[in-house]
Symmetry: none
Subunit: 217 residues, 4 copies
DNA sequence: GATGAATGAGCATTCATTCAT
DNA sequence: AATGAATGAATGCTCATTCAT
């Protein structure tokens, strides 16, 4: 039962056995959290998934809440880093709408392929008590701001319909993407296809009607 | 907080006090469920919200699970009825895309204005154990089939871009709508505005580019 | 297994079954606490002694700590009331030293005959965390002040040796009394005898050497 | 904080580093035990106070219970040795009551100045399970016998009031001394003063009434 | 119809103890 | 000689559920 990568490095120090156990617990927590929700996440289940005994968790995390807090935080933090990296890698002249398309792909790929963390983070935003979301909310805001920037640029370039409210349009788009985790079944649809469909939908949904059709991406 | 009928028959008699108490409990359960999630829904909280004592619930429902099952079922069932009624009320000649637009409005209004049931049902689809979702899943499928029909009609009339996969497009659209419950704040946005923005986004996202029929991408 | 009386009335309302259960739990807690100490007091043991299941305790007390806090508080409060009543019942002209003697008897009788509460309270003063002792400390101080008064009167009347420090003398006396609970075995010594011996010891220990010997009490 | 020998032989070798670590652990245990009580004494706390990790304790003691047993034993054993030494050092002709006075001083000084062991031993007599007190009880009895002897001698010399029961008088006196640990605050009272007051109280408390002014101290 | 009282199952957490290193 | 890592046995506490009234 191979664990997700991607967290081991986050924990700081070297790649000792201890580091790996900690990461394994975090991964397990992300998994359980994404499936069972905040209140349904039992340390017993986390432990079982991480292949150790529940009390061992306390060697690495001070409490269930701290563990969950970290999962929630890592969720969007990873997502934001991933999006930022993707955008930074785009060639300088890329048009705002193309950048949005790239963002759509980044978001979907991270959400669907990489990470229980993201789904955990997304699905439980509403259920986790406020005091566990301080760090997460900061990241969420930062993530939102990136998208705001993308939209603002597109508007400045006249690439977004004037009859759309930028904020609502953005949130509706994010919703379409976030919700994908709820219905996506790996066996049925390729991420590839979902990305393509989402990009078409978003691009056309946002673009002014008599769109001066440029080539995408 | 008027509650839907549709449960009235299940409880037996007319609109007695008993009926109303039962409805109050169901409402309360929907509310708590939509906020706290499946595992976080405690009968104590439900009872408090319904202004009675927890054991009283057992007079109306055999168990916590049954209560939740019913909320989940009612959520999607009400939604379907609402959508169906809206569509049936449309004038005969209404174009498929206009019917989709009407569906978007119906979905959003029901989700945001009317009902904790719908949000409870939507948010907890992934958390409630399978055996409590038998009826709900049937309704979900039925609800999906209505939308499938709407999309099929639109495709038949050439109102949906050929480069979109009908199923994925539909699911992405539903996601945008469903997610609205996560970010909507009554004080900030009017449902009116959300509806309008969603309709624009969906209509343009789905419609073929109006330009001299080649195709994009 | 007959429970101690003396608490039922303290709980306020009538003498309902609920009242009695609450008192039974409190009594049991006092007993266990006096024997096992603060950290050693397990709710399981309390429950067993009170002849119910541990979670039932939570129906009457919000937490283990609250339960213990109440025992500790009741301990000295009862003691203080008992002492005060005894002193108030003394004939007006009673000499200070005779009043001290009466106090010695009151203290010993309450400690040895009546109450696990007092022993619990006395023995655990040092072990119970500060924040649980707010009420108790107030009572303790009040109790101490009564004795201070008794000693002050005796000094004013020249009934206490000048070479004794009033405070230390008082604390040493209290120690002799408090400690009796540690060695007293009902089968071996009668309370009667302990009282007599303590009274002799205290009276002579405190009185100026060439004492104008009056008869006691 | 110099620790008593007397345990040295039990550990084998000379005064190696190992010896000192063992003593440090024992000291720490005595300290924690005297403050938190039997059930409240956690190896973690002992270890922290001894400046090492909890599992290290097992290198020196087979179990928590053994460690505590030894503290309890040492407490009373040290006390007995101390008392015995003090008495042995008294000049041959010393009167019984003067010997008692010397005993009072020895007891108080050891309890207050020297030793967490004694307070641990005294305070936890009632809380530590019987099977850990075998050695301690033997010592306690021995210690008691010394005092019994002192009292017997005093009685033989007519230095103790006939209306006092020797055993109860002795236990009451011991209580006054033992309890001092509960209220003594180094900053407020000097041990000197406590000793003086206790000696006065005890001597006068025990002595026959019209003491024809023979000795002062 | 509804509540007060109580229970049993389960969960987070603590802690003595073990073991490999 | 000592520690990091892990575990099993408790223990406090919560919560759905029952039952007598």
């Amino acid at each position: 039962m191979p664990r997700k990568p991607g967290t081991a490095d986050r924990a700081g120090g070297g790649d000792s056995k201890s580091q790996r156990t900690r990461a394994r617990i975090l991964d397990a927590a992300a998994h359980v959290l994404s499936v069972k929700g905040f209140a349904g996440t039992r340390l017993t289940d986390v432990a079982e998934y991480a292949e150790l005994q529940a009390p061992a968790i306390y060697y690495y995390f001070p409490s269930r809440e701290d563990l969950i807090e970290e999962v929630m935080y890592c969720g969007i933090m990873d997502m934001r880093e991933h999006l930022q990296k993707t955008l930074d890698a785009l060639p300088p002249g890329t048009s705002p709408m193309d950048r949005i398309s790239a963002g759509v792909e980044a978001h979907l790929r991270h959400e669907l392929e990489l990470s229980d963390y993201t789904t955990a983070s997304i699905r439980n935003s509403g259920q986790v008590p406020e005091h566990l979301r301080t760090r997460q909310k900061k990241e969420e805001a930062a993530y939102g701001r990136i998208w705001q920037g993308l939209f603002a640029d597109a508007i400045a370039d006249g690439e977004i319909r004037a009859d759309l409210d930028p904020r609502m349009a953005r949130l509706l788009v994010m919703g379409a993407l976030n919700w994908a985790a709820e219905w996506w079944e790996p066996r049925r649809d390729s991420v590839e296809d979902i990305v393509t469909n989402a990009q078409i939908l978003v691009r056309n949904g946002l673009s002014p009607s008599p769109a001066p059709k440029r080539r995408a991406r």
